[in-house]
């Protein structure tokens, strides 16, 4: 690490003020504070404010329902549009954040914990630790070994298909890459597009990269690659792109002009055979067809790693460093960590699973049960590329690079050199 001359903060305060404007707008933007309905006086711990990115109807309702059961303090929810919340998180946490805020596990949590923007909640984990598996605890732990995050719900990534279509054609879930390729070839011969694929938004292709990398090189390599510790020109990375290029002929063409919703619909309409996506793909299926949706985990590529890792992004809650009511906030996190609270949310939002091991899986839909089973078989849960690495690397380097690959799958070497160069500029 080279030392550079630091500039006095005051000198550039003007700049900060100029860029601070959007934060103010976002902070007091779309969400007006609303007290949880049905209660006029709260418990003994005063008021706890919650900054929530649950702007969609279903997650918003889920949070409201869960908060009804919280009696130790009065919760006040500030809902901000999902993307706006995400894009302004830096300025939000630097400004006047709420006591508790929604966020993501893994590197993205660690990034803010490291900057001193989150409150250490190791004491809460002393109590709730027994309710979570080690994988969840690891994803909630900062680089300094302290916990900063309480997992709430999550969803696994897998290869989804329609049972009725597969029964009619006699397809079986593949166990290895060769079987997968053979199946895709058979689908092509049957007049189907084997793998529905979309990358207009830039992130769905990250899911394909993640799973191919973890199947080929294992979880540990994936994480250290994401942390900037490995070279992108490494033959192991090239191997991943080579495998992907081999599968490209089975992917839906024109992926860069398509959204994941459109790809999901093509699966629902039985025009495509399967799709690698998160469990939220169920949203694109009409209620009546949801039971027809099933999935299998991406098949084994390297026997050394089998199918021991999957992407399963965890959503949860953190306490900001500037929280005014830390006791109330911690009480709220204990409430959110309860299996029963998470069950209320998973009942309303069938695309998610409860993070706590104490949660009751009896009320799960068939798909949720299969999801829970899949996760229990995985040794490692990755958080998805854009949550496992620096946000600037994910959005300004990986999105354009993966789109370039999808557009021209043959130019792997020059692409990897370019990624490595940009990575070196960011991780210095």
């Amino acid at each position: 690490m080279d030392r550079r001359m630091p500039i006095s903060r005051r000198r550039l305060l003007l700049g900060a003020a100029a860029f601070g404007v959007p934060a103010v707008l976002a902070g007091c933007g779309s969400g007006s504070p609303s007290t949880a309905p049905g209660r006029s006086s709260g418990g003994g711990l005063g008021t706890v404010t919650i900054g929530s990115n649950a702007s969609d109807e279903v997650p918003k309702k889920a949070l409201e329902t869960v908060l009804k059961g919280f009696t130790q303090a009065v919760p006040k929810v500030n809902t901000v549009d999902h993307n706006t919340f995400q894009e302004n998180i830096n300025r939000y946490l630097k400004g006047t954040p709420d006591d508790v805020f929604t966020w993501f596990a893994g590197y993205r949590m660690q990034f803010f914990a490291q900057q001193g923007l989150a409150t250490d909640i190791s004491d809460v984990w002393q109590e709730i630790g027994g309710d979570y598996t080690q994988a969840f605890k690891d994803q909630s732990t900062g680089i300094d070994g302290k916990q900063y995050f309480v997992p709430f719900t999550y969803y696994p990534w897998a290869v989804f298909y329609r049972k009725s279509l597969w029964r009619a054609k006699g397809y079986e879930p593949p166990k290895t890459l060769d079987e997968f390729t053979a199946l895709a070839r058979r689908m092509k011969a049957d007049g189907l597009v084997p793998i529905a694929f979309a990358d207009k938004d830039g992130w769905p292709a990250m899911g394909t990269f993640d799973i191919l990398n973890m199947r080929t090189n294992g979880y540990d390599f994936h994480i250290s690659l994401m942390a900037g510790k490995e070279s992108w020109t490494d033959p192991r990375v090239k191997q991943v792109f080579d495998t992907w290029r081999g599968l490209m002929e089975f992917h839906q063409p024109a992926a860069l002009g398509r959204t994941w919703q459109e790809a999901g619909q093509s699966l629902a309409q039985k025009k495509t055979g399967m799709i690698l996506l998160g469990m939220f793909v169920a949203q694109q299926f009409p209620e009546a067809d949801r039971d027809d949706l099933d999935f299998f985990t991406f098949p084994e590529i390297n026997p050394a790693y089998g199918t021991d890792s999957i992407d399963a992004p965890i959503d949860g809650y953190m306490i900001s460093a500037k929280a005014r009511n830390v006791d109330g906030a911690k009480a709220l996190l204990r409430h959110l960590a309860k299996g029963s609270s998470q069950n209320e949310a998973t009942k309303l939002d069938p695309g998610t699973l409860a993070a706590s091991s104490k949660a009751d899986t009896g009320g799960y839909s068939a798909l949720q049960k299969r999801g829970a089973e899949l996760v229990s078989q995985a040794t490692h849960l990755a958080q998805f590329l854009d949550r496992d690495t620096r946000p600037d690397f994910a959005s300004t380097v990986m999105i354009p690079s993966l789109q370039a690959f999808v557009g021209k799958p043959d130019e792997i070497d020059s692409l990897l050199v370019s990624i490595e160069k940009q990575k070196a500029n960011l991780f210095r």
Binding site: P6, R91, K94, K200, G202, A254, S395, I399, G407, K421
Partner: protein
Amino acid sequence: MTVKTRRYSARDVTVLVIGLGMAVIVNVGLIWGPTLASAALSGTDWNGIGPIEWVGGRNYHDLATAYPPFWSAVRNNVLWLGFLGLVATPFGLFCAVLLDRRLRLSRVYQSALYMPVVLSLAVVGFIAQLVYSSDYGVLNAVTGLTVDWLGDRSINIWVVMLAAGWRHVGYVMIIYLAGLKAVDPALKEAAAIDGASEAQAFFRVVFPTLRPVNVIVLVITVIEALRAFDIVYAVNKGRNGLELLSVLVTENIVGEASRIGFGSAIAVILLATSLGFIVTYLSQLFKEER
């Protein structure tokens, strides 16, 4: 020798301070301050949270050598300017000239051409998706083609510029139409009597009298080309072949990425380019008026 000094009363001074002071504060606070702050930040690697460290010209070096979207954005901005300036604007002028000849139904044509101007470019972006989407778009459905108009990076910039041009033509047309209406018909008559052909009359007589309008249209065209943002953002967030400098600034600074130093460097380049046009234009203007 007595020097005649003009004395300002206390009231004059107050008015002067308030009147001028406000203007100076607003100007410095809203224009010069942020501009200079951007320029200063472009020499740092600030991420919006941590300490601000001076890195000199490193951001510019990284930009030019290891950030593929940058050159793509420069190319697209130049294409955009070229397309609006050399295709859309002349076509708008052409439409205006035709409409000025009082064709039958000219009101209808005029409204049809002007209609897109009332739409925001973001809306034009959404309309473009309805037309160009490879699975659900009108164009592929009608022609039976399977072209990925918006996803293929060798064609998407052209079809998006076409959509932007659709709006620009109407804008330019209405301005020229107003200008043409103001041209004295006697000029055209005189030219006709002198034996000038239709084309000669237009290029030698009418067009030169439109000079003030031309200047306005030129400025509008340059501004539209440099500030283009909303249409590509609506289509695919300005990625994959639709990069523009304005989008890259936003992507780096506003998003979660918070590469504020790096984004500022792109903003400074955009500023320098704009200044280049503005200075050229103003100096030209003053030179001719002198």
